[in-house]
Subunit: 199 residues, 2 copies
């Protein structure tokens, strides 16, 4: 990694932390420069604008998510075990301090237009496609039923993640882990191939 | 309504609109005063502080939600029809310009502490209790199975609302209505009493 790349990476790591806690709107090139002991013009050289910085932070969040959530889950066996691993890693991601970066960013950007929103939509759709792919593999393995719609499953799984995040982080429901597990088991149960209903 | 109450109500109506589009952080007493042609000191007399204004706006949102979502749904017949009506009115609420006030407010306040967060938790829990009550009634009516946990159902219904809101408003998935209906029918199907499985 060149010195320039290392600096860029250090800026992004700090910017991701700030954005996770305070939102993308809380990112300021001036403040980041001060915290990292860099010049404002140096930060502008790396990112050009506040919006370009937001796009870079969203892409950095996507990279971290792949590294911490997707890749470890892909080590699980193909089929239902991998679908379970994806969900469990995803819930862990949402339990980090500040909660799920993506859920917070969606709430900030949903009424806006522009490259930051577009980058966030791309990141979300890439993840949804990964879930759907894992579901297709589970069908190929004979774990899930042939007529299961992978994108319908992904939608219901995503819904469950959002509910779990709300009940855990916001409502602080002590039963959130139990509720999430019961709903997940029910979703998995309805997806299973007939000969695996009792698996 | 006294003149003071009418003024307070006008302030709240405008504050709710602003908060729905720009978030609770976007509420400023100075800006509201300017837009409504009132003095800043007049607004302070009504609300005392920015935080008191936020609490009042959250309570106003709760009042509007009851008026537009809960009360019309309660006109549906007790049991499954009422649970369906609650969900459909809720989805309509989330389709208003600016989306669901509560989902946006949760993302803003989840890392904070204080009376605004507390008011939002109260509003959310009051709604969850209404769903659970409608589910208990559906059990009493024999529509839903005896061993159904009303708060588990409410959690899964809330999850589905959140997923629908994300796919509709943020991802703009053209299939969102179909996906939501399929997931909702599946949830209702799993809740039904055995002798009503084909209802």
């Amino acid at each position: 990694m060149s010195k320039g790349e290392a600096t860029r990476q250090a800026i992004l790591a700090r910017a991701f932390e700030v954005a996770t806690i305070e939102g993308l709107q809380g990112l300021s090139i001036g403040r980041l420069a001060e915290e990292l002991g860099l010049s404002k013009s140096g930060l502008f050289r790396h990112f050009g604008s506040k919006e370009a910085l937001q796009v870079a932070v969203i892409e950095e969040a996507g990279r971290l998510f792949v590294q911490d959530t997707l890749l470890p889950a892909l080590r699980a066996a193909r089929g239902e075990p991998r679908v379970r691993a994806l969900f469990h890693r995803w819930i862990e991601w949402g339990n980090r301090p500040g909660g799920c970066f993506f859920i917070a960013a969606v709430a900030e950007l949903d009424d806006r237009t522009g490259p930051a929103r577009d980058a966030l939509v791309r990141a979300q759709n890439a993840w949804i496609d990964e879930i759907a792919l894992a579901v297709r593999i589970a069908k190929d393995e004979g774990h899930f039923r042939d007529d299961l719609d992978p994108h319908q499953f992904a939608f219901e799984l995503y819904s469950l993640m959002l509910g779990s995040h709300l009940y855990g982080r916001f409502l602080r429901d002590p039963a959130v882990a139990t509720r999430t597990r019961r709903a997940f088991d029910s979703l998995i149960g309805s997806a299973r191939a007939p000969d695996r209903k009792r698996a």
